[in-house]
């Protein structure tokens, strides 16, 4: 994959001396770079039209984040309806330079440009406080919630800082989650088991139709092999599964490819989820992708938690199919369902996560993350 394409890059004056700003100046032509005052972002907030959303992928602002970096995964906020796996997120930017038709950012973002936060030291200080307080709790921290963990990493090189930061904290797990193949910028660093590099994967047919601008499946798998060979733990997210004619064959081939290339020991976990999105996202998707997409054509219904999902029977069939296929290859494959209701767990597997020995620890409650005050002077 080539260097991410931006038509315009703004640098907030407070970020002007940051490492990321220096990288931007090294990588991009100066004609597209402009220094702006810190209130610049305020003029670019608000709900977006489809055109504005498209443009936000091509416009980048380097700035500092003023809020709390470290949070629980949104799944945790719907504990009454969803079975949550205790994932935590560290948001080091927002928006994505790739263009998946189903992307939930279409109904989530309200800033009309891509953001990279340059004050990663503040984020690491927040994490340090939490790690000091809870060194023995198995927190799993992902950086790929509102931005792809690695697709802009050539610009930030944050992976290198994060890997070194997490290495001594072996009870805590760091997860990079990506649809890119950008691993060369950190691959010289030795991996270890608590540093997970993970890929969202789908059959080639779905990638070609729905995951625009992402690395192709074989490119993602090549990148995963590089990480495996360097000692990193891998994970895969077969999520969102997208229903289409021939889905069983295509998902079977995907699983066969993964299970024949990697071992269960190399891949810590495989999460499985089916297509879901907020109702308000429909207009944006329809306007941006028309009805040629498997996602906009899908037969979706309101479900628990207010998201639109496939019919519950179909969903259970899809989840069960992939889960069983994986287990048929080797019982040791660890798989779980992402953001699903207890009813779906039961109808697919006749069990809830706490009844499955190999994954129950992931679902045990962890201490609630509180607002932490980071003293910059220390």
């Amino acid at each position: 994959m080539a260097l991410p394409e931006f038509k315009k890059i703004y640098i907030d004056q407070v970020s002007n001396d940051s490492d990321v700003a220096a990288n931007v100046r090294r990588l991009y032509p100066k004609e597209i770079i402009e220094i702006v005052p810190s209130d610049f972002i305020n003029k670019h907030r608000g709900s977006m039209t489809a055109d504005e959303f498209n443009l936000s992928k091509k416009t980048l602002l380097l700035t500092e984040f003023k809020g709390q970096f470290f949070k629980r995964c949104p799944g945790a906020t719907q504990k009454k309806t969803l079975t949550c796996c205790n994932y935590h997120v560290l948001n080091l930017g927002s928006q994505c330079n790739m263009n998946c038709s189903y992307c939930y950012l279409q109904s989530y973002l309200n800033t009309k440009m891509s953001l990279i936060y340059t004050n990663i030291d503040h984020a690491l200080a927040e994490l340090k406080l939490m790690m000091t307080e809870f060194p023995n709790h198995p927190f799993r921290v992902g950086t790929g919630e509102v931005i792809d963990s690695l697709s802009l990493d050539e610009i930030t090189l944050y992976s290198r800082k994060l890997i070194e930061f997490f290495k001594p904290q072996t009870n805590w797990t760091l997860e990079f989650k990506t649809k890119s193949d950008k691993v060369d910028q950190f691959i010289d660093l030795k991996g270890q088991k608590n540093i997970v590099v993970s890929w969202s994967i789908n059959p080639t047919y779905v990638i070609n139709k729905e995951e625009h601008g992402t690395a192709r499946l074989h490119e993602r798998i090549s990148a995963a092999k590089k990480c495996r060979d360097q000692g990193y733990q891998l994970a895969f997210h077969i999520d969102p599964m997208i229903y289409h004619e021939g889905w069983k064959n295509n998902y079977s081939e995907l699983i066969d490819e993964i299970t024949s290339t990697f071992t269960p020991e190399e891949v810590g976990i495989i999460s499985i989820g089916t297509l879901r999105y907020q109702p308000e996202q429909r207009h944006m998707m329809r306007e941006r992708f028309g009805l040629d997409s498997l996602v906009t054509q899908a037969e979706m219904f309101p479900s628990e938690g207010n998201k639109l999902r496939y019919d519950a029977h179909l969903r259970a069939e899809m989840l069960q199919f992939v889960y069983r296929r994986l287990k048929s290859k080797n019982e040791k494959w660890n798989a779980f369902f992402c953001m699903e209701t207890p009813e779906t767990w039961i109808s697919s597997l006749e069990k809830i996560p706490m009844q499955i020995p190999e994954i129950k620890d992931m679902f045990k409650p962890l201490p609630v993350v509180r607002q932490v005050e980071v003293n910059e002077g220390k």
Binding site: T49, H283, R286, D311, H313
Partner: protein
């Protein structure tokens, strides 16, 4: 939203030769139903004159079948999908009442689910539900199933019902 979609709708209706008489009806409808510009957001997806022509004809059909505000809003969303999926004149079948038309559009938009629900309904109808109980098959959001009503007057009634339900469970397990 800077673009007034209601105005755009009227302009498109006026542009369409087949709808010269319909434009004022659409204007009246927009006003009487208090349709907001945001209610018409789905039209932002339209790319061709045919899309607009079909959409305007759909609004005239909504007027004809006397759809309420909320029925209209739901139908606008559904019809937009169907127009973009390539449906055209078959959209305007079964328009004798709003409910008939809505059912027709639902079947066009959700054919696989309609088929799955029909199969499930048939399967459920053959189950040995308790004597005297009432069953109603329905879809509630992403789930479809049976609502079961039983009337119990004594412990003996309850035992009979539970015994019937055990047979239902067994048949469900076996199938």
């Amino acid at each position: 939203m800077s673009l007034d979609l209601a105005q755009l709708l009227l302009e498109k209706a006026a542009d369409s030769n087949s709808l010269i008489n319909g434009t004022s009806a659409i204007a009246d409808w927009l006003m009487s139903k208090k349709i907001k510009s945001s209610d018409l957001n789905p039209v932002l997806s339209f790319k061709t004159d045919l899309h607009w022509k079909l959409f305007n004809k759909s609004i005239l059909t909504l007027i004809e079948v006397k759809a309420s505000y909320s029925e209209s809003i739901k139908t606008i969303d559904l019809i937009t999908d169907l127009i973009l999926m390539g449906h055209s004149e078959n959209l305007f079948e079964n328009t004798s009442s709003f409910q008939n038309w809505a059912d027709h559009l639902y079947q066009l938009r959700y054919p696989a689910t309609v088929k799955r629900d029909q199969d499930l309904k048939q399967k459920f109808e053959t189950l040995p539900w308790p004597y005297g109980s009432k069953t109603k098959f329905e879809r509630r959001g992403d789930r479809s199933g049976v609502e079961l009503k039983v009337f119990i007057t004594s412990e003996a009634d309850l035992i009979k019902v539970m015994s019937s339900l055990e047979r239902v469970q067994q048949q469900m397990k076996d199938s």
